[in-house]
């Protein structure tokens, strides 16, 4: 029962703030509502017994990515964008197709609803004793070591790319 109440609270916060993210005129307000959505999703992770991921969500998304967003918003001027048209001309088509998409997914999920019923959580004693972080770490550093290394290369490439994109051109290059 508590699980259901928590789920509905977090889901409502996530969906309402997500809608507010894409409808706000001021980008700073959008960023604030994005933070609310990210926190609510971290709560959803907690109800799914993924404590490590909830922590990572708060630290990396809210503490890293969102702060980066706010930082960039502060670097560029937001006043001009507020007075422009906010939506594309094709917004009706976009809304209709997105509505069809969600209707289709919801119908498909509803048809297969019975196969999604969770069995009563059978946690093996070994798993219950180890805890979530250890389980994730063990899988990450044994079975998924190669993807882990590739992810670190990807981050290196992203750092170099961001620096190259954002740096000032020197006189020699121009």
């Amino acid at each position: 029962m508590l699980e259901l109440v928590l789920f509905y609270i977090f889901a409502a916060i996530a969906v309402v703030s997500a809608i507010l993210v894409i409808t706000q005129r001021n980008v700073v307000h959008s960023a604030a509502f994005l933070g609310a959505t990210l926190f609510a999703v971290a709560g959803i992770f907690l109800t799914l017994h993924a404590e490590f991921l909830a922590g990572v969500q708060v630290i990396v998304y809210v503490g890293g990515i969102l702060v980066l967003f706010v930082f960039v918003i502060m670097l560029i001027s937001v006043e001009r964008a507020e007075h422009e048209r906010q939506y594309n001309r094709q917004w009706t088509v976009a809304l209709v197709t997105s509505g069809m998409l969600i209707a289709e997914i919801a119908y498909g999920l509803y048809r297969g609803k019975d196969s999604f019923v969770l069995p009563p959580a059978v946690v093996p004693p070994a798993v219950a004793a180890t805890g979530n972080s250890e389980l994730v770490a063990t899988a990450l550093y044994t079975s998924y070591l190669l993807p882990f290394e590739i992810a670190s290369i990807l981050l290196l490439v992203a750092i170099v790319g961001a620096v190259v994109l954002a740096k000032k051109r020197t006189a020699a290059e121009e």
Partner: protein, 100 residues
């Protein structure tokens, strides 16, 4: 009782909101934020199935999705800054240098 169906529906709703944001808004910052929303929806899916199947693989891949999201945000915001330096705008309709 909360079933995986609930989580999948929530994830689908968040993903669709992200798609609407990408398709309708003209401000590039909000488009990048919508992409983050979609990645969060994917993570909810992965972790819901990880919980349902009692396997940790879904959570490991959620970690990778978060890594890719961080890299994407860094590069995307770098592009925004470079764009703003050149054209002084955040409106994507004015960025048509590569349009034929």
């Amino acid at each position: 009782m909360v079933t995986t169906f609930h989580y999948l529906l929530l994830s689908a709703a968040l993903f669709t909101i992200g798609i609407i944001g990408v398709l309708t808004r003209r401000n590039i910052m909000i488009i990048l934020m919508s992409i983050e929303l979609m990645m969060n929806a994917v993570n909810i899916n992965l972790i819901a199935f990880s919980d349902r199947l009692q396997q940790v693989t879904g959570q490991v891949f959620a970690v990778f999705v978060i890594t890719v999201a961080a890299a994407e945000a860094a590069v995307g915001l770098g592009i925004v800054i470079a764009m703003f330096k050149n054209k002084e705008t955040m409106n994507i309709n004015e960025i048509d240098l590569m349009k034929w």
